[in-house]
């Protein structure tokens, strides 16, 4: 899967858990998942679980700690896919 496709899929998944619906309309790679979109820290774990299922990867605890923005998530998925 190419990075742009990954970005779109990541946005689709994260949007389901976003409490700030208005912020979803203007997301980009720099959007912060918790602070800008209002995804709760608990739901963020479910977001990552959906990444793992969608992209058939395993995201390590170390990688998890490094995910703050949507761009971070795309990069973590790419790394887990060995790209």
């Amino acid at each position: 899967m190419q990075t742009n496709e990954t970005l779109n899929e990541v946005i689709t998944i994260i949007s389901k858990f976003a409490e700030r619906r208005e912020a979803v309309e203007r997301v980009d790679a720099s959007t912060r998942i918790l602070d800008d979109l209002g995804v709760s820290s608990l739901n963020f774990i479910d977001v990552v679980l959906e990444f793992e299922e969608k992209f058939n990867v395993s995201i390590s605890d170390e990688q998890l700690k490094g995910i703050s923005t949507i761009g971070d998530a795309v990069n973590a998925i790419a790394t887990a896919q060995g790209r």
């Binding site: 389901k16 409490e19 679980l49």
Partner: protein, 427 residues
């Protein structure tokens, strides 16, 4: 009962500033979701019990249950809010929203240190627990369960969800005391206000319907298994042929307030809590009802309410339809209240036994009876238990329309735990 003299009703202007009043109600149960929905079926003695294919699929002896129907959680909450709820906490959250709406509490009334939540559950999110265990067993990975395995299933899931939802800053607690849970939560909230720790409390309880909360009772052979072809007849407290209880579920929630606070914000007091008591039997037995334990409870509740036996108009029985429980309860009641001047019935005849939620749902039913002036019937009594023939005139088998002033509601739970609450209507 119709020969009883009518008493002068309590009026709002008679209330004292430190009285504890009810200003909001919410209910989710087998005869309706919402206080307005339940009044007609309650008054008409309709049954909310039906055939349960899930019970049959799981090989239960009993194949009837009282199920919550037609509840649309999405009409109340966002998808992300629902992620933190089990079926029990969805029920309690819906009932809590209904109660808060009726009380007209605004965010400024909720988001403060004097507003708290006491919402319990007898069993918690057990169905969710089993579903998570299936995932764990099949996928051999706790991670696959997702992040909501704790907030949905912990014993305090009902209280936690309401506290988060309403952003309250006072107590956020969950009592759990088996079948007395709902009554104890409301009683504890009453004490919190009475003793000045809070002035507003959202209180009640919920339990799930369904196989997960019922199968252990089926194993104990305490569920009614002789009416699988006539579900509406299965729950028959006080009847000579009663054969155990019908499993059900739901939620009941009230907003309790110190009257001075309710008056200050212009809220309408619906009823006043007159007294409450909680006790254990001290009998050393886990399940057997104790006549002396029940009598002690009832006398203490009357003392707490500063009432004489003749001042109670109606008693909502625990009345589960187990052979021993009903006979012990009515006999103990008559020993304390006397043998005339009040009516009794069991709401479980209509909705089954909602476990930890039972006391809270039955309390809501009592508030409806006070508001509309009727005693709901104990349905399905074809032949009263001969052991109870001395009390036949007390048992309400057909709806009685009459103004009521004081209602007592009682519950008894596993672990010999007991609760009794007395509530007084306001004209």
């Amino acid at each position: 009962m119709s020969t009883l003299p009518e008493k002068k009703p309590l009026r709002a202007e008679d209330l004292r500033p430190d009285d504890v009043v009810i200003t909001g109600r919410g209910v989710v149960c087998p005869i309706g979701n919402g206080v307005k929905e339940i009044v007609a079926p309650l008054r008409e003695g309709r049954s909310g019990v039906d055939y349960d294919p899930e019970f049959e699929a799981h090989g239960f002896r009993s194949r009837v249950s009282g199920r919550v129907r037609g509840l649309d959680g999405a009409a109340y909450f966002s998808e992300t809010q629902i992620l933190s709820m089990s079926r029990a906490s969805l029920y309690s959250s819906v009932a809590a929203v209904q109660a808060v709406r009726e009380s007209k509490l605004l965010p400024r009334d909720l988001e403060r240190e004097a507003t708290g939540v006491v919402l319990g559950s007898g069993i918690g999110g057990l169905g969710t627990n089993y579903r998570m265990y299936d995932i764990l067993r099949e996928q051999k990975s706790p991670r696959r369960v997702g992040s909501h395995g704790v907030d949905t299933t912990m014993s305090s899931t009902c209280a936690a969800n309401a506290s988060v939802l309403f952003r309250t800053q006072g107590v956020g607690e969950a009592l759990s005391s088996a079948c007395a849970t709902g009554l104890h939560c409301i009683g504890y909230a009453y004490r919190l206000i009475r003793h000045g720790y809070q002035d507003t409390v959202i209180a009640g309880a919920a339990d799930e319907d369904g196989w997960a909360t019922a199968f252990a009772f089926d194993a104990m052979r305490v569920l009614c298994a002789d009416s699988n072809d006539r579900p509406w007849r299965a729950s028959r407290p006080l009847d000579a042929s009663r054969a155990g209880f019908v499993a059900s579920g739901g939620a009941g929630v009230v907003v309790l307030e110190k009257y001075a606070r309710a008056k200050e914000r212009g809220a309408r007091p619906l009823a006043r809590i007159r007294g409450y008591w909680s006790s254990t039997d001290g009998s050393g037995d886990m399940t057997a009802p104790s006549p002396s334990g029940q009598q002690r409870l009832l006398r203490a509740a009357l003392r707490n309410a500063e009432l004489q036996p003749g001042e109670i108009d109606y008693v909502n029985l625990h009345g589960t339809a187990t052979p021993t429980g009903d006979a012990t309860e009515l006999t103990a009641l008559a020993q304390v209240l006397g043998n005339q001047g009040y009516g009794v019935s069991s709401s479980k005849s209509q909705i089954g036994h909602a476990l930890g939620a039972a006391g809270a749902i039955e309390f809501i039913f009592c508030l409806s009876m006070l508001e509309h002036g009727f005693m709901a019937p104990s349905i399905n009594i074809e032949h009263l238990d001969p052991l109870l023939k001395d009390y036949e005139h007390l048992v309400v088998t057909r709806t009685e329309e009459r103004p009521l002033r004081c209602i007592m509601s009682n519950n008894f739970g596993f672990g010999s735990t007991n609760g009794s609450i007395i509530v007084e209507g306001i004209a």
